[in-house]
């Protein structure tokens, strides 16, 4: 064994030192390592990349949306002109707006495909029920992003789609008319409506989506990824030759909070 092997190289030290420094003070490195090197079933397949693809599409929306906000003006008299300016005059504005516009469609399609995958795999079953509920809430929030964002270009399609969308809520029994008036910020669609849709679209709903994604991922990591149900080696499959004692031993529920400590 050479001395070079026992002593880490300068290069290695230069990498390790800041990481160790960070780990000692935050534990973040360990957290990331746990996330990256956790075990997933050996038989996962390409359909199971749809969730992370959805996350990517959402991140595209976040980044492009933040940049668009630098050029967009949320008032009825200026909104349309600022959209024309972004799309046709600002350098690469068409690309950022185009990515945001089409990324929205891609994001919604991916959410539905991801949901279809989870349904096909039966991956919403015990113990992952809550993650299904979180996913449906994310779908609703995603559709709400689509609805509130659609008004912002302030063109004919945008305006009238929003008129119908708001009045749809207005037909809900009892509270509907109040909800519709709240969404409009008055009895008619106007400057208040555009401003509050803008606020909902870029602050309120994305905030909720980030929080829900955090919980969604936390549960994915805690509960693990399912094997395809048709897999011969599906993790957790029934074992015909399993001794009954082992079965009984396993039926005892773990103590609260001890689930991870196996």
């Amino acid at each position: 064994m050479s001395t070079r092997r026992r002593q880490p190289s300068r290069m290695q030290q230069a990498v390790d030192f800041p990481l160790d420094w960070l780990e000692e003070r935050s534990g973040l490195v360990g957290g990331v390592k746990y996330f990256l090197f956790r075990k997933v079933p050996a038989d996962t397949n390409w359909m199971q990349t749809l969730g992370s693809a959805t996350l990517t599409a959402f991140l595209v929306q976040t980044v492009t949306g933040v940049i668009l906000a630098m050029y967009y003006q949320p008032t009825p008299n200026d909104a349309y002109a600022s959209i024309v300016n972004i799309t046709d005059h600002v350098t690469l504005g068409w690309l950022v707006r185009g990515m945001h516009k089409w990324g929205a469609s891609v994001f919604i399609i991916l959410m539905f495909l991801h949901m279809g995958r989870v349904f096909l795999f039966g991956a919403y079953k015990y113990p992952r029920e809550l993650n299904w509920v979180l996913g449906v809430l994310l779908l609703v929030m995603g559709m709400a992003e689509g609805f509130t964002g659609y008004l912002l270009p302030w063109d004919q399609t945008a305006y009238w789609a929003s008129v119908v969308g708001i009045n749809l809520n207005g037909t809900a029994p009892f509270l509907g008319p109040w909800l519709a008036q709240f969404l409009r910020g008055g009895q008619d669609i106007g400057a208040e409506t555009l401003a509050r849709f803008y606020s909902l679209h870029m602050l309120v709903i994305p905030g909720a989506i980030f929080a829900l994604i955090g919980l969604h991922l936390y549960l994915v990591i805690r509960l693990g990824v399912t094997s395809p149900p048709w897999s011969k080696e599906a993790a957790g499959a029934d074992r015909a030759d399993e001794p009954s004692q082992l079965r009984e031993g396993l039926t005892r529920p773990a103590a609260r909070g001890a689930g991870e400590s196996e």
Binding site: K39, D88, D155, R239
Partner: protein
């Protein structure tokens, strides 16, 4: 618990414990094995988004340097919002087409709120509650017939609603004018009847009458595809258009005398030339 058959709750707990064991014993590390596939898929997604944006821009803008030009993927933007519009036909974004068409299905006033909030709310509740009414452990599709049928029906109905929503049209001047060339070729209309055909399309006749399947029959007015075979004569047609109830007592059709004799003559020529599909 030691004696007898284990309960359903025990069985699913046992299964999850087995899952944890199996993953620990035989699983692969998320990084790099699963993450590689995730990364490739994300690259595809980002590429598709950029490609869509590029196709959208270059087919809509490049030909005429006009943002409202209809490219392959639609215009960059439509005309500015006009809350007082008199000719705009509103349509939602494609992913709300299913809801849009659902609203057209519930065309009785008593059922409006079923389409607007009733059905969507029930569907959402069924969706959220899925893991709480489908509590069996079974995950193999061959043994989940109800789930498979439900999925197929859901996809089919969403696809049909979306398709119907995308192709829905109303008998309005702005849309009917596009059908005039079909009328000319289907009925072999002579050139003299063409101005009348265009007038017929934009003058709102199709709000009550139908012509070769275009228009609305909601109000019970007769189909005019073969009106020319009755050989009523141009003079009669003009008199009828000027004052329908004078010629045909009790007719609810409004008077079109204000169109002027030239236009009424054009309309009459068109109607007399309409002798059905040839």
């Amino acid at each position: 618990m030691a004696a007898g058959k284990p309960s359903a709750v025990d069985e699913r707990r046992a299964q999850f414990a087995r899952y944890k064991q199996d993953v620990k014993a035989r699983g692969k590390s998320f990084y790099p094995f699963a993450m590689f596939e995730d990364t490739v898929m994300s690259l595809v997604v980002v590429t598709v988004i950029v490609a869509l944006a590029a196709v959208w821009k270059w087919t809509a803008w490049a030909p005429h340097h006009l943002g409202t030009h209809q490219g392959l993927l639609g215009p960059e933007y439509t005309a500015p919002a006009d809350p007082g519009t008199t000719n705009f036909v509103p349509r939602p974004d494609w992913y709300f087409y299913f809801l849009f068409y659902l609203l057209r299905i519930f065309k009785w006033p008593e059922t409006v709120f079923l389409g607007t909030v009733g059905v969507p709310t029930i569907a959402l509740i069924l969706l959220i509650a899925l893991p709480f009414y489908d509590v069996r452990r079974e995950r193999r599709l061959s043994r989940r017939p109800v789930a498979v049928v439900g999925l197929v029906l859901t996809i089919l109905s969403m696809a049909i609603l979306t398709w119907k929503g995308a192709t829905a049209s109303e008998a309005l001047a702005s849309e009917v004018i596009a059908d005039v060339p079909n009328w000319i070729s289907a009925e072999k209309l002579p050139p003299a009847a063409v101005p009348g055909a265009k007038l017929f399309a934009v003058a709102g006749c199709t709000a009550c009458h139908t012509y070769l399947g275009t228009g609305s029959s909601n109000l019970g007015a007769p189909d005019l595809t073969t009106i020319g075979t009755r050989n009523l004569g141009i003079a009669f047609q003009i008199r009828h258009l000027q004052c329908p109830s004078c010629v045909n007592p009790g007719s609810p059709m409004p008077k079109f005398a204000s169109l002027g004799t030239t236009r009424l003559h054009e309309l009459a020529v068109f109607l007399e030339a309409s002798k059905g599909k040839k």
